[in-house]
């Protein structure tokens, strides 16, 4: 099985936010929640970089570890998913997540956060693949259809890569070799405890 990962080549991201829009549309993400967002570091300074970030689907995911009701599971593809039926909306995953992925519907901070929502790598949830119930709770299940997450699929500059970790790491390495520079795979050390060295 492949080990699915995201890789954002910050030297290519042009901060167009197409990934953000694609995600919201493809998954019918609830109002107020952005499963993916683009953050620009040192905005306006020479050397600014933009990074598109969602859930990194960590190896040994912290959210999964701290969840008091065991709502998370990691699929055979290494995708970290959760069950909204099991989630109690306690907020522990969002204390633990290094990437700010878990979010809650804005029905109120006080007491009732609602069920946690986060990037599913366009892989749905525990419901049967492609079912209406799955779509309603988690959005599209493109992975079951043999497609990659839409954010990466429609990235115009191919800054955001999704796919098997080794394959996308090799693509990145080849790029760095060819162009002669690379500011690294953002978040990889934190998420996968590895970096890409070319």
């Amino acid at each position: 099985m492949a080990r699915m990962k995201f890789l954002c080549d910050a030297d290519r991201c042009i901060e167009c936010n197409a990934c953000v829009t694609a995600c919201k549309n493809e998954n019918e993400v609830p109002w107020g929640i952005n499963r993916r967002r683009v953050v620009t570091i040192d905005d306006g300074q020479p050397g600014e970089r933009s990074v598109s970030m969602a859930c990194m689907h960590c190896t040994d995911a912290p959210c999964q570890a701290v969840c008091p009701v065991n709502a998370f599971y990691t699929t055979a593809d290494g995708v970290v998913l959760h069950s909204k039926d099991i989630c109690i909306g306690c907020g522990y995953c969002f204390y633990a997540c290094p990437f700010g992925a878990p979010q809650y519907p804005q029905v109120g901070n006080f007491g009732s956060r609602g069920k946690m929502d986060k990037c599913t790598y366009c892989a749905g949830g525990p419901e049967p693949d492609g079912s209406a119930a799955e779509y309603e709770k988690y959005g599209a299940n493109r992975l079951a259809e043999g497609k990659l997450p839409l954010c990466a699929e429609m990235c115009a500059t191919k800054s955001l890569l999704a796919g098997d970790g080794e394959v996308i790491a090799q693509i990145y390495k080849d790029r760095v070799e060819k162009r002669g520079y690379g500011s690294g795979a953002w978040g990889w050390k934190t998420a996968y405890r590895e970096t890409i060295t070319s």
Binding site: A10, R37, V51, C87, P98, F99
Partner: protein
Amino acid sequence: MTSSAARLCNVFGALALFAFTLASYTATAQQPQFVDPTARAVKEQQLLQRFDTIRGRGSIPDTKSYTLEQPAGRDWRHFHEVTLRWIGAVVILGMLALLIIFYLSRGMLRLESGRSGRVIVRFNAAERFVHWMTASCFVILALSGLNISFGRPLLLPLMSPAAFTAWSEWAKYAHNYLSFPFTLGVILIFFMWVGGNIPNRVDVEWLKRGGGIVGHDHPPADRFNAGQKLIYWIVVLGGAAIAVSGYLLIFPFYGTTIATMQKAEIVHSVIAMFFIAAMLGHIYIGTIGMEGAFEAMGRGTVDINWAREHHSLWLEGAGRRTDPSPPQTAAASGE
């Protein structure tokens, strides 16, 4: 004349253009062949070494999402998964073990002079109401809190995930909403009993002579002895800390970040474990640990002999304040 001047102008112009082209050509030649656009680019590892989070600017209204990375969650995770469970297990099981050993060796401490049959009011109805409101909230808060810390390894294997979620969700609601009466109770307890709980010289003497449940002596004590004052301050200060840290968690991002919420959770949970252990001791002394103690908070009255043995100064004071026979009036009102 004008035409020759124009010609001269053209020649100068051509010369200037030539010079400019030459200059710009040399400038191009001086530029390096290879440009590294990342030379001044922000680097992830440098940012993480300098700050504990990487923050930037985004284009969606949710400013919280401008934080790109915050690896501190890993440390917090270790605390939550390992450190906290050890603290909780050692403190709570340790206290339970201590109480069991104590009970097996000393049993219930009896009234040395037996019951006189006459009683005196110790806590009036309002005091008892506040005590039991705070206490019942505390028990539910403690159980629902322990469920968050220990439920997954201990309780989840015993029931279905759906049932555990249903129970945990109710426990979470109870934990959130009962925090309000609990906090109110702690505030009322503070004002209600602060007068009798300022440490003084009597407490030093009491501690020296080994008063209370541990020693065998009955040193003089006022309405609250040193042990009870300790419990009082644990409830007031511990309750205040636990309430403040808890409300920071109930209202996320009201003056907090993820990092402060992690710290608030650490403070909240560690104090909670010690609080639970302290209350186990309190419950023990108030029930099976000491004869005649429970009725103080149960019925509100205590036997005169109990008061004489444990709170001699308070009894003397009560005798002075009410005359000539306080026990009868007390018995009537403290029904």
